[in-house]
């Protein structure tokens, strides 16, 4: 994977990264919420979420953030994540696949950094999370 991933020199503004589709299964979401000590019923149980007036078990924003970072570093494993910013716009329901995609928006050859826009959307194409990230690539070995 590391060998076949895009290199810094091969990236240009406008390049798309992904998509990556992740199955946000109820057990996956619950497992992460428990690992994060976020035991609120809305994150761990469909029934408890509905009792709170939600449409069903939801994915914690922190999990969406982690999955977006996972996608970025999965596509660009040589890079280091320097900054990430997210806006949570809608509920990411458990049991519904999420599609993550990104686009390179800026590149600095001097700093070996790229800027990306990214988003997570549901099957209907609703953008549930949007954001930007800065990734830095190591100096090429001589």
């Amino acid at each position: 994977m590391r060998g076949s991933a895009p290199t810094f020199d091969g990236l240009e503004p406008g390049d798309e990264l992904g998509p990556l589709t992740i199955d946000l299964g109820g057990a996956f979401v619950r497992d992460h919420a428990v690992a994060m000590n976020m035991n609120a019923g809305r994150f761990t149980s469909d029934a408890e979420a509905k009792a709170e007036g939600l449409p069903g078990q939801i994915t914690p924003g922190n999990m969406s953030l982690g999955l977006l970072a996972r996608a970025l570093l999965g596509w660009l494993p040589q890079a280091r994540l320097e900054r990430i910013g997210t806006t949570f716009r809608g509920l990411a329901l458990a049991g519904v696949p999420a599609r993550i995609q990104a686009m390179v928006t800026e590149k600095s050859d001097a700093a070996r950094r790229i800027e990306c826009d990214f988003w997570m959307e549901n099957e209907a194409g609703d953008r549930l999370v949007i954001g930007t990230a800065t990734l830095r690539f190591p100096e090429p070995s001589s």
């Binding site: 497992d31 690992a35 994060m36 000590n37 922190n62 900054r83 910013g85 806006t87 949570f88």
Partner: protein
């Protein structure tokens, strides 16, 4: 609670300083596992020794697990209700977290502001957890943005 009633004097003041027990390799691995991450940099102590950090490190967003001892100052917390939600995060990453690191988070409110949309008035509170390791290195600045709908007096949830 009307937006005007929120005490702005809390902005900029450190309201929490929390030092965690030394980071365990097992908790760093557990975090990566719970996100479905397979990369041995974050999952395998032996394999990570030959990686760019010379050992296991936390997956970067592990820092959101470090929520401090007091989430929000009481002067703000008392205005939050169950329909408030996490509106987003901005994270600047510094040194990676390694097993054995002793991390300290200091917390401050950085902004409180109001917006009005189709569904009415809402206010936002932004708070920063600045996380440093026991070598004094910045590990992360985690800025969290919470949104709370403004409510008429007497409508606050318990």
């Amino acid at each position: 609670m009307p937006f005007e009633d929120i005490d702005r004097s809390v902005i900029g003041e450190e309201y929490d300083r929390f030092t965690y027990a030394p980071a365990l390799a097992s908790e760093l691995i557990e975090y990566a596992r719970s996100l479905g991450i397979d990369d041995p940099l974050y999952r395998d102590e032996q394999a990570a020794k030959s990686g760019p950090y010379g050992g296991l490190v936390a997956f970067p967003t592990f820092v959101v697990k470090l929520r401090g001892g007091t989430w929000l100052p009481p002067a703000v917390m008392k205005h939050m209700t169950r329909d408030g939600f996490d509106a987003g995060k901005d994270i600047e990453f510094g040194a990676p977290i390694r097993p054995g690191d002793v991390l300290t988070a200091t917390s401050r409110i950085t902004e409180i502001y109001e917006k009005t949309g189709r569904s009415g008035s809402m206010w936002f509170v932004v708070f920063r957890h600045e996380i440093r390791n026991d070598r004094g290195e910045l590990v992360a600045n985690v800025d969290s943005r919470l949104m709370q709908r403004s409510r008429a007096p007497g409508k606050e949830a318990s």
